[in-house]
Symmetry: C2
Subunit: 181 residues, 2 copies
DNA sequence: CGCGGCTATGCAACTAGTTGCACTGCACCT
DNA sequence: AGGTGCAGTGCAACTAGTTGCATAGCCGCG
């Protein structure tokens, strides 16, 4: 399981509460590892028990108290161990592909609509990533260390979304062509 | 959940036993939807209860009896319904990205080794897909219907694996360059 | 003054997926 | 005779992830 490790990486970049982590998972971290607040709270609890993170409560005015977590020694060790250990490539679960493969068994127009919708969603994500690239990493060749690693992960997102948009376009063109005949 | 739907699509192409389905999930279907035999057997059982597939036992000589499943009317209806219904883009879980993002907290050499390993795995998959493309779809412009849909899904796999290989190469080059400085 | 939205945490119940094991019987190799 | 591998089905226990709900105070809007 990598949720623990994603949290460790994020907490190492900056300590924070479960709520703050959940927000990071909505944006940057969530681009390559999705998680809900429920999962995060439960996992943090487990990680405290394992001694991977430490937790101290912080009183706030005008809003509820929060628990701030930070990476402990054992957590850093676990992260180092995990980084060096081999992992499987992700198991693929792509339901758009299942739908395309079953296209002949349903309404073709509804399906092309669905594919077009996904195309637009991916195009939107691509735009978001490109905007971040332009704004946060204007000179990639000057990057090193942590900043470089963040940039490289973003590059992966850009490549993946671009591939998806192009694929959706290919699929739509081919299905429309097939339709016309 | 799309496992039911992946099974329906597969059974519609050809009826078969749980064992046979598991084998298809090891190769073609499994390229875009992973599943183990356990999951498949359990899901088939549930689908019989739902009336989506019918099942009849077939005695064999020289090997154990098997249960052959085929899509029922209710299954076809469910598939049509699902094809037309909107779905979310897949939630991304890419642990290589998590590892890269945490690269500064571990052994850089071990991590680049891991990235290179993934690069090779994806390159291998890409070769498999390209071989299938060449062998099974020599003239894509002549395809239509079911065959076209199979081809388009394969194209998605090719694009995805190619993007991953190229990304791994980019990451490796950048990290080595960073290392040298 | 009530309503929605934000910060903040969490339980309970559910669905989905993984891992390890168990059983049968045939074919083939050594 | 014993070992490996294939064909075939399945249970039990586990881990991971989702969904719905509960709580609670503050802030600003109309």
């Amino acid at each position: 399981m990598a949720l623990e490790h994603a949290i460790l990486v994020s907490l190492d970049e900056r300590s924070g509460s479960g709520y703050e982590l959940a927000q990071r998972f909505e944006k940057s971290i969530g681009f390559f590892w999705a998680a809900t607040h429920q999962q995060i709270y439960r996992t943090l609890k487990r990680m405290v028990e394992l001694g991977w993170v430490s937790c101290h409560e912080v009183a706030q005015e005008g809003r509820p108290d929060k628990k701030v977590y930070e990476v402990a020694e054992a957590g850093r060790a676990e992260l180092a161990r995990w980084l060096a250990s081999p992992g499987e490539p992700e198991t693929i679960r792509h339901d758009l592909s299942v739908k395309i493969r079953g296209a002949s068994l349903g309404d073709a127009a509804a399906l092309t609509g669905e594919i077009a919708r996904h195309r637009d969603l991916h195009a939107e994500r691509l735009d978001v990533y490109l905007a971040i690239e332009k704004k946060d990493f204007p000179d990639p060749s000057a990057l090193s260390g942590r900043r470089l690693h963040q940039y490289l992960v973003l590059r992966g997102g850009i490549r993946a979304e671009r591939a998806l948009v192009e694929w959706c376009d290919e699929v739509l063109a081919a299905m429309r062509e097939d339709d016309r005949r």
